[in-house]
């Protein structure tokens, strides 16, 4: 994407986005293509999720994108009965951390997974979802 006056693509991330400006705005374009992407430092090879523009190891800002693919394992989760302003309509919903090997990902569990079936260690995969207001997000789906 060419440099514009204000590139606020990131304001389309999640149910409520709290920030619009970031140098990893392409993350949103990849979501629109159905991909959840992290960044990898071209200098030292370090992988990051969430993606970042700058590498704290090499100190370079020379990143390439990679897709977080395949099945991960559920590390932990919780189902919320209360929510902050702007999220009440989604209740109850579950947030989770999933380990994909080279990176871990924080996000929501897809509501198609029945509460009684959620088990730490279960295999999960990433799925991109477009929200009714046009915002983009990702969720964890059962992978078995």
């Amino acid at each position: 994407m060419a440099e514009k006056e204000i590139d606020s693509r990131f304001s389309k991330f999640g149910t409520v986005s709290f920030t619009g400006l970031t140098r990893v705005n392409d993350f949103i374009d990849y979501l629109q293509q159905g991909k959840v992407m992290g960044t990898r430092c071209k200098t030292c090879g370090m992988r990051f999720f969430p993606p970042r523009a700058d590498c704290c190891k090499s100190l370079d800002s020379n990143m390439e994108w990679f897709e977080v693919e395949g099945a991960g394992t559920l590390q932990t989760y919780t189902t919320l009965s209360y929510a902050p302003t702007g999220f009440g309509q989604d209740l109850p919903y579950a947030i989770a951390v999933v380990d994909f090997g080279s990176v871990r990902v924080f996000g929501r569990l897809h509501r198609s997974i029945p509460a009684k079936d959620i088990m730490i260690g279960m295999p999960l995969k990433l799925a991109v979802r477009k929200l009714p207001d046009g915002n983009m997000t990702y969720e964890f789906l059962g992978a078995s």
């Binding site: 991330f13 149910t15 932990t76 919780t78 919320l80 990176v103 924080f106």
Partner: protein, 389 residues
């Protein structure tokens, strides 16, 4: 280089909604600490003010407090590390005194959480962690600790009933602490009554009973050098060890969900500096913002091996008469949790214990005490070891 100690402690009552301004709230703790230290304002060389700014309407409150305390023209500045702000303040006070830059430094922690409306609070709640990558999913503080509770339960078989035992203990000591907000002792039957709102689910597996409550409150700690202390009549309690550590904000940066890595690291540093181990601690104040947080603290500080913390609470070993008394002032769960004041309140409790001035909560012959104060979900961790000698 001489020792550094705490010569004065003060705390306001912790209440749901303080009927006054932040300067008046902070003054309550300030007055108590000044009287405790038997000092006048001329004795204070600098003030460190601590709060979590998302609850403050006043920008840069340190200037306001220094003026109200009558502490101009001495320097004052502000420090923040979420819920561990005031122990971060004590760490800085230690370094200022140890360096010789100042002889007497005051740490004033406060939070008037009722300063903002509950709607504003509800809105800010979602911004407690990484606003770029986590908050858009709808996060809040209980949910983060709930993920640790879930992880601890899956790994070690800990149950919700085990966590309730921690709340039970807290309620017993909260009833004895005249500064605590929640003073009603609970009975174990309360936790079996599904109609009782204490058992309402908040974020699985945590229930209302597992969570501390917002509060308004202030604390004040006065730090001085061994040399300067000779000029005052009060005998200090010495700061023997200080450990401080951090961990990633984003949960994706964490590799375990059964303990707080920053707390383990801070604990090790504090023990090493003090030259003592967990077995030497006579009384501890740990950051029980949630019941699971106290349980993890038992393990992270070495009072129990990982996974065996539940044995301590089941056997009442963390009660006043037990092997390692923990939070015998009611902890955050009963005192309430006014963010910027909490760490100072913990320090005050341990100082009173080591002086033998803890009243009905007094642990017999306590000579070495520990404070564990956590900011966020283990983003910041401060551990402090205090001693009589």
């Amino acid at each position: 280089m001489g020792k550094v100690g705490i010569i004065g402690v003060g705390q306001s009552k912790f209440v749901r909604a303080f009927n006054g301004s932040i300067r008046e709230l902070a003054f309550e703790a300030f007055r108590e600490a000044m009287k405790d230290a038997e000092m006048t304002t001329n004795d204070i060389d600098a003030t460190i003010v601590c709060s979590a700014p998302e609850y403050d309407k006043q920008r840069s409150p340190s200037g306001i407090l220094a003026e109200y305390f009558g502490l101009n023209p001495q320097p004052t500045f502000y420090v923040e590390s979420l819920c561990s702000s005031s122990t971060t303040g004590v760490r800085l006070a230690y370094s200022l005194v140890k360096s010789g830059l100042h002889d007497v430094v005051m740490v004033a922690g406060f939070q008037k959480m009722s300063e903002i409306t509950s709607a504003e609070s509800q809105e800010r709640m979602g911004r407690g962690a990484d606003i770029q990558w986590e908050a858009p999913f709808g996060t809040m503080m209980p949910a983060y600790y709930a993920m640790y509770a879930q992880g601890h339960m899956a790994k070690y078989g800990t149950t919700s009933e085990d966590l309730a035992l921690i709340r039970l203990k807290s309620s017993i000591y909260g009833a004895q602490n005249e500064k605590a907000m929640i003073r009603k002792p609970l009975s174990p039957e309360v936790f079996e009554d599904s109609a009782n709102q204490l058992n309402n689910p908040i974020s699985s597996p945590l229930r209302t009973r597992d969570c501390c409550a917002n509060a308004d409150g202030a604390s004040c700690i006065i730090v001085t050098s061994e040399e300067r202390a000779k000029t005052f009549s009060r005998k200090p309690v010495w700061i023997l060890g200080l450990g401080s550590a951090t961990a990633s904000v984003n949960m994706a940066g964490r590799d375990t969900f059964s303990g707080l890595a920053a707390a383990v690291e801070a604990g090790k540093k504090a023990y090493r500096m003090a030259g003592v181990g967990p077995q030497d601690i006579d009384v501890a104040e740990v950051h029980d913002c949630f019941t699971i947080a106290e349980l993890m603290a038992y393990e992270n500080l070495g009072f129990a091996k990982p996974g065996e913390g539940v044995e301590l609470i089941r056997a009442k070993e963390t009660y006043k008469e037990g092997k390692i008394p923990v939070n015998v002032d009611g902890g955050l769960l009963s005192k309430g949790h006014p963010i910027g004041a909490t760490g100072g309140s913990q320090v005050r409790t341990v100082v009173l214990q080591l002086r033998g001035e803890a009243g009905p909560m007094q642990v017999k012959d306590a000579s070495i005490g520990l404070v564990h104060n956590i900011g966020g979900v283990g983003i910041y961790a401060n551990v402090m070891i205090l001693g009589r000698e």
